[in-house]
């Protein structure tokens, strides 16, 4: 790897200390045992079909002051920030494009993953997520309204504990509506991890790893789906791993339900936003009025002074 001249570099041969800890080498069985307790509940006390959304969904907008719209989503330990900037002209483009473009960039913080430190240069994971995000968002945005322009959407994953693509899509949807970009519908996303006969809804990092690593059964993998719930349309579907048709159909119906469950949360945030901005507007107007009155009063004083003079 060429040396990065634009950053400070550590020694080339450094490795994470976790490689030398005891739980670095665990086989599939141990892994599974740890994730599910004897009552069939997951680590952390969730039921198999219980999404983190319902335990804790901390979402807000307007976190980044410099951006047009921004949002922050926390699904227990998965933390994602998103900002959206004003449409801008596409540089170096010769042809007229009738549809506006979305530029999506997903980045992991160097300290976001449990294992090795992420390199600061973009890797294949990040690029794949960026493409997936772009594909998922494109059907939701009214792109014909800003031809020849592009909207920049930046996602930053501060901490990754599974389901980061759905979190990124949800965050981007919120940020886009915060930025008042015209959209057809709210966009929500969810994912499941499938390992044998077990289906983990809204999986954690461990569960995702488990599903991908499992090779002895037919069904294993992760499915992510994003939806425009009011329109009953699926905007993106992504599957990693292999599974039979029944399993896919089953997963789809679960995902559809999950996507719909998120809607009220998103709506609540957006409504709260509207209320806040309305109140702020009122406050500003009041202040403006006060100021004008003060100015007028001063004007009167000056006038009287002038008249006396």
């Amino acid at each position: 790897m060429p040396l990065d001249y634009r950053r400070f570099n550590g020694p080339e041969d450094s490795v994470s200390y976790r490689r030398f800890t005891e739980d670095y080498t665990k086989d599939y069985k141990q892994f599974l045992d740890e994730l599910i307790d004897e009552n069939g509940r997951r680590k952390g006390g969730r039921e198999m079909d219980e999404a983190r959304t319902l335990c804790m969904f901390f979402a807000r907008t307007g976190m980044i002051s410099q951006a047009k719209g921004s949002s922050y989503i926390e699904l227990k330990r998965t933390k994602v920030a998103c900002s959206v900037f004003d449409p801008r002209e596409i540089v170096h483009q010769n042809e007229y494009s009738t549809l506006g473009q979305l530029y999506c960039e997903v980045k992991f913080a160097p300290f976001s993953c449990r294992g090795e430190r992420k390199a600061l240069v973009p890797d294949s994971d990040e690029r794949a997520l960026s493409v997936a995000l772009k594909k998922a968002l494109e059907p939701a945005v009214c792109r014909h309204l800003f031809p020849n322009y592009q909207i920049d959407i930046f996602i930053y994953i501060l901490e990754n504990d599974g389901a980061c693509l759905p979190a990124a899509i949800n965050a981007a949807g919120l940020a886009l509506s915060d930025a008042a970009v015209p959209m057809y519908d709210i966009i929500t996303a969810s994912s499941v991890a499938i390992s044998g006969d077990k289906i983990f809804v809204d999986p954690t990092d461990d569960e995702e790893q488990l599903a991908i690593r499992n090779h002895d059964g037919v069904n294993h993998g992760v499915i992510t789906m994003s939806m425009l719930p009011e329109l009953q349309q699926v905007s993106d579907y992504r599957q990693i791993g292999s599974m039979d048709a029944d399993c896919v159909l089953n997963a789809l119906s679960i995902l559809e339900k999950e996507c719909k469950k998120i809607v009220p949360y998103v709506q609540r945030v957006l409504v709260q936003n509207a209320i806040n901005s309305f109140e702020q507007q009122k406050k500003l107007e009041e202040e403006a009025k006060e100021r004008e009155e003060a100015l007028n009063a001063k004007m009167e004083v000056w006038k009287s002074i002038l008249n006396v003079g």
Partner: protein
């Protein structure tokens, strides 16, 4: 409502509820919020938000300095935090900030690199401290240092056993010792605005104010550590007379004491 523009214009318009020239913005600090990092801190100074995460790694020390570990600090200005930054490798501005922060940390000698060595010539810790700016609204260096120092202060090093003969490394994460940190460098940014014959000095400027005073970044950064100056950087902006300089140093000293208190209280409450 906090619109923090302490009007840097020559015309006296309404000061509204803005700050005075030497007021600083509120600081919010949270430590160990990110569990995937070995230590982390989030700070919000007004709108400016910086997250710092430390990742621990092991490596062989350099042959020329066998008893010294590594401390690698980088500042990332993401395209997410402001429209001024484009995606891609770090801009010149990001590199300048990285350099200033790293300079201050080395100059203040708050971390003795020898503490990071486990077995001389064989094994030492590498501390990757990544500071990412989530919201760029001026005075980034101040915020970077606050998060970095809070993270370093809460960092726990797992115990490592190294077999000299077999060169086998074993890490026990159940026993952890804190990293000794002596001193607490705190930086304060100023923007120097030329107003006719005299200059106006703005403490803790926002991004807009920095821009008004000549381009990206603050004009003057003064850093105090244990009653000593461990870095004074003055670039661009209006030229500075001695009286103004003395005034800023005093202001920075005052602020450093306050921020030190904030950091200590925050860490105490967490532990």
């Amino acid at each position: 409502m906090t619109s923090n523009t302490h009007t840097g214009t020559t015309v006296t318009i309404f000061f509204e509820d803005g700050r005075k020239f030497n007021d600083q913005r509120d600081i919010k600090l949270n430590v160990n919020a990110i569990k995937t990092a070995d230590a982390s801190a989030v700070v919000k100074c007004g709108n400016t938000t910086v997250v710092c995460g430390i990742k621990l790694e092991l490596a062989k020390p350099k042959a020329e300095e066998p008893d010294v570990g590594f401390l690698v600090t980088n500042v990332e200005l993401l395209p997410l935090c402001s429209s001024k930054f484009r995606p891609g490798p770090p801009s010149d501005h990001a590199q300048v900030i990285s350099n200033i922060v790293s300079d201050i940390v080395t100059n203040s000698k708050c971390i003795n690199l020898k503490d990071l060595c486990i077995v001389p010539d064989k094994l030492s810790w590498v501390l990757y401290c990544d500071m990412v700016c989530m919201d760029y609204d001026g005075s980034v260096v101040d915020a970077c240092l606050i998060t970095l120092m809070s993270s370093l202060k809460t960092l726990l090093l797992p115990s490592v056993s190294f077999d000299v003969e077999t060169e086998e490394i074993k890490v026990d994460t159940t026993i952890k010792t804190p990293l000794p940190v002596n001193g607490l460098p705190i930086a304060t940014s100023f923007a120097v605005y030329q107003q006719l014959s005299r200059s106006v000095i703005l403490t803790d400027p926002t991004a807009y104010e920095e821009e008004m005073c000549g381009g990206l970044g603050a004009n003057l950064i003064a850093c105090w550590n244990k009653g000593q100056l461990c870095g004074v950087f003055k670039f661009g902006g209006s030229n500075l007379s001695t009286e103004n300089e003395k005034e800023t140093l005093a202001l920075a000293k005052q602020k450093s004491k306050l921020v030190e208190k904030v950091i200590n209280i925050c860490i105490e409450n967490k532990s």
